[in-house]
Symmetry: C2
Subunit: 523 residues, 2 copies
């Protein structure tokens, strides 16, 4: 494919892509293909000879599109959104054009420097304290990871090795290296990563990868499914009494089930008191608190969100020296209009990563890295190579401006409130079908179908949930909270408007009425 | 940005991107900016109000381009290539358009199914045995990871937990669970991952992440820097004698320093004999051999490469049941014309990953995953979400055809041979400046400047290397082999032609002559 053929192919693709975006609402939101559908449509092997672009492009509509679940569909209200935008796509286009494996600064200084700068921009726009900026006095800074899962495994591994090194610091030198090694190995088997039972599954997977124990602290309806400082304190003491060593805690702003916000103020106090950030003769070091704000964190761009009590504590209530929140992560690729993947992670001190993740073979050495004056992001992450992902973030921030993004986040919150109000008010219309379980919070409402007891509620909620998804007009997901089945509706995809929220609610009402009627009950 | 504005921005970007590709040779291959250059050119914060695309696009040329090291430049002969192609770019464009976080099959069945199919296509075209195909009887299959680093940490973690579970299987049931847990913790501290000293640094980093010991087996010039079966056998026995438990070995096709190919036949025999794949009362389980063919593996598309002795052993010499090579990885984003990132990993049995990497919270459950009939690639990798990366691989395979890719790989090998022949023959022209250290192998030649002793050789080689890179006409990298400084020249980027290889050699000769003259020696 030469430049001329590429131009034609690209222009034709852009035509088709804009056409796709304009007609998304006419498509079925969830794919209805059966497992294995594609194998029957494609050859057994790659072609020996080149094929023209026209045959490839026509296969996209005929063979690929039927197998696509349309995440940008205004009726996609499942999971959390993976929002797309035109400037985000332009970012991917340019990133592909400037293709390279920019693992070191010199491999393309712009890749590293733009990332550092736009992560400072983003941190400022979210109101993060100065300690997470690359220019702050604690030596912090941001990095783009692929996903929140990669971010959490990276910080958890660094936290593990930081804890092991610091908690055995009293054995450093004086010929005690072997004793220290043994002590580290002994400790390793006793390390525990903490999180709440509502923390995203990536925390458990990160502990699995790092080879440490994982302890989910139960949370319940009484705290709005949020983790409290007291629960954290109790867990630390209980684990220590069992001879274990808590070294890491993932706290969440916006849990996956319910968008709960953990009590950061209380958690930080508990950790500061029980696990202060100093290594002592007692063989304990400080704990690393990581804040997983994967979905909801981007809405910190709104002053009214920053003023929520637990968030105020996160953003301002800590002195740099004593703050145990060593890392914060949010995904601009969820609600933030940056095409997947763009998971932004900030650390309070970059040596917390680089001291534990740096491996330097001869073939990667260069005068710039040796000088210590540049950032080599490979030491902030698991992979070596990296894409030029900051371009799409830069394009989105500039194309929308902070005001445009704020407007987008406010729309999601407003539509979430609308949906929740429909659920609440619907009892007034002579139909008392639903009840709110949690929310609205960050555009997420969790609710269930009413019933005379838990068994009936769960059966009906599940039935409604399954029928609605089988119908294919809207796509929603479910969860289980303390044994109760519940439906999650998220109203923060880019193209969702009031009409779609009302329509989704009407479908839910219709389906719940059907189910109630069939069951012969009043619902 | 609406559809109309996007079309204009995209068409204008495509115009500029093709223009960039056509004028790459006129640019300086390595960026010459100083650390921190970009911060002085950009505002301190993100804009509050939207900016038009025209201001963003003009910043690309004026602010970003100076900080780009041009990996597609025909004079880029450093590291290994990160090759770009027009169909690869179209793949990124479509992947961004069909944006989603396809962690489960139902999240977009096409994302999963196309990946499975094109990885079967690719495996067949590389001549991989049927056991790595999704359709083979061992239940294998392929997956696209971001990088070889992510692939190796994923298989190493699975190997660790597989070994721990299998080697304690005799303690399963009968109320011995606590004893088993203790035994696993005890074993964990004794596990060792093996590799050769020439294995890519990602193996060491993977061991660090997984929290296990790493043992590099020394290799030297006498085996062409390749790992032998005998060295592996000796290492296993020596480690066991020290009370340690080798559970994983990374063998390499095409090491980073020299493109050495390990002795797969000998390694497999040694592992089969000393660490057969069965769990026994002796508390040992089989070892997992992973083949890292990150750079060179794609050239298995050439029959003449497959016929090389150690590769024949890898591809055909093993019965499925006894083969310890449980995983193979190669990066189509290096030599393979698929834009970064596209690291293809195959396993002989997919349960070797899914049994150890699956975490299933309520909010990810769905009828398709529960049915067991579909692949959920999230259980084959660290991240949860994933991009539609198989599109770009599909587009490249179809646009070039296997024949077109074979031609591309043959060109690289031929140009590598040309460069090495220039180094070798150059003595005949009255200048006896250089000597080959290794190669040519897979387009890589490693050589050094001659000198009367090691000290002089190293000093002159380093001086030539640094001056050439400072000159900025070509970009090369160096390595250190057994204490000897050496220069690596790779001739496999997409746009490199004979004239660029001859030109690079002329620059090296000129620089070496200068250095020799200044030193007053004969060179």
């Amino acid at each position: 494919m030469d430049s001329k053929e590429f131009k034609e192919a690209a222009i034709s693709s852009i035509e088709e892509i804009t056409n796709y975006y304009e007609t998304i609402p006419t498509r079925r939101v969830v794919s209805s293909v059966s497992p294995g559908y594609l194998r029957t449509l494609l050859p057994q092997s790659a072609p020996q000879d080149p094929e023209p672009w026209s045959s490839i492009q026509s296969d996209i509509e005929s063979k690929i599109m039927p197998g696509i679940t349309h995440w940008q569909h205004p009726n996609f209200m499942a999971f959390f959104p993976a929002s797309s935008s035109y400037p985000g796509m332009l970012g991917e286009m340019w990133s592909a054009a400037l293709n390279g494996a920019a693992f070191n600064w010199i491999c393309s200084p712009a890749v590293t420097e733009l990332e550092t700068i736009v992560l400072d921009w983003l941190a400022k726009s979210l109101g993060l304290p100065e300690r997470y900026l690359s220019t702050g006095k604690t030596g912090g800074g941001g990095v783009i990871h692929g996903t929140a899962s990669e971010a959490i495994v990276t910080v958890l591994v660094a936290a593990r090795d930081k804890y092991l090194r610091e908690s055995t610091a009293h054995l450093e030198g004086g010929g005690k290296e072997e004793e220290r090694e043994d002590e580290m190995m002994r400790k390793r088997s006793r390390l525990v990563a903490l999180a709440s039972g509502a923390t995203h599954s990536s925390a458990k997977k990160a502990a699995l990868i790092a080879g440490v124990r994982f302890h989910p602290i139960p949370v319940g309806a009484e705290t709005g499914w949020a983790l409290t400082g007291r629960a954290v304190g109790d867990a630390i003491e209980e684990l220590r009494a069992r001879g274990l060593e808590p070294f890491f805690l993932a706290a969440t702003m916006g849990t996956t089930d319910t968008c709960a916000v953990d009590d950061f103020g209380g958690i930080c106090s508990a950790v500061r008191e029980l696990a202060p950030g100093r290594a002592g003769e007692d063989g304990r070091a400080g704990m690393w608190v990581h804040v997983d704000a994967a979905y909801a964190g981007v809405s910190l761009m709104l002053p009214e969100v920053r003023e929520m009590a637990p968030l105020e504590a996160l953003l301002a209530g800590e002195k740099d020296e004593g703050c145990p929140v060593l890392s914060i992560n949010t995904n601009m690729h969820k609600w933030g209009l940056v095409n997947f993947d763009c998971s932004t992670l900030w650390v309070m001190n970059r040596t917390h990563l680089t001291d534990y993740l740096t491996v330097m073979p001869a073939y990667l050495r260069n005068q710039y890295s040796d000088s210590g004056l540049v950032t080599d992001y490979r030491d902030w992450q698991i992979p070596l190579g990296r894409r030029f992902r900051s371009l799409k973030l830069w394009f989105v921030l500039r194309t929308y401006g902070i005001k445009g993004l704020q407007e987008h986040f406010r729309k999601g919150i407003r539509l979430g409130e609308l949906f929740a109000s429909l659920v609440t008010e619907e009892g007034g219309k002579g139909r008392d079908l639903f009840e709110i379980v949690t929310g609205p919070a960050f555009a997420l409402t969790v609710f269930r179908v009413k019933g005379k007891d838990r068994e009936e509620r769960n059966r009906r909620t599940k039935e409604v949930y399954e029928r609605v998804n089988a119908g294919g007009e809207i796509y929603i997901t479910s969860t289980v909270l303390g044994g109760d089945f519940a439906i999650r509706v998220v109203a923060s995809t880019p193209f969702v408007e009031e009409e779609h929220v009302r329509n989704a609610f009407a479908i839910l009402v219709r389906t719940a009425e059907e189910v109630a009627k069939e069951e012969g009950g009043s619902g």
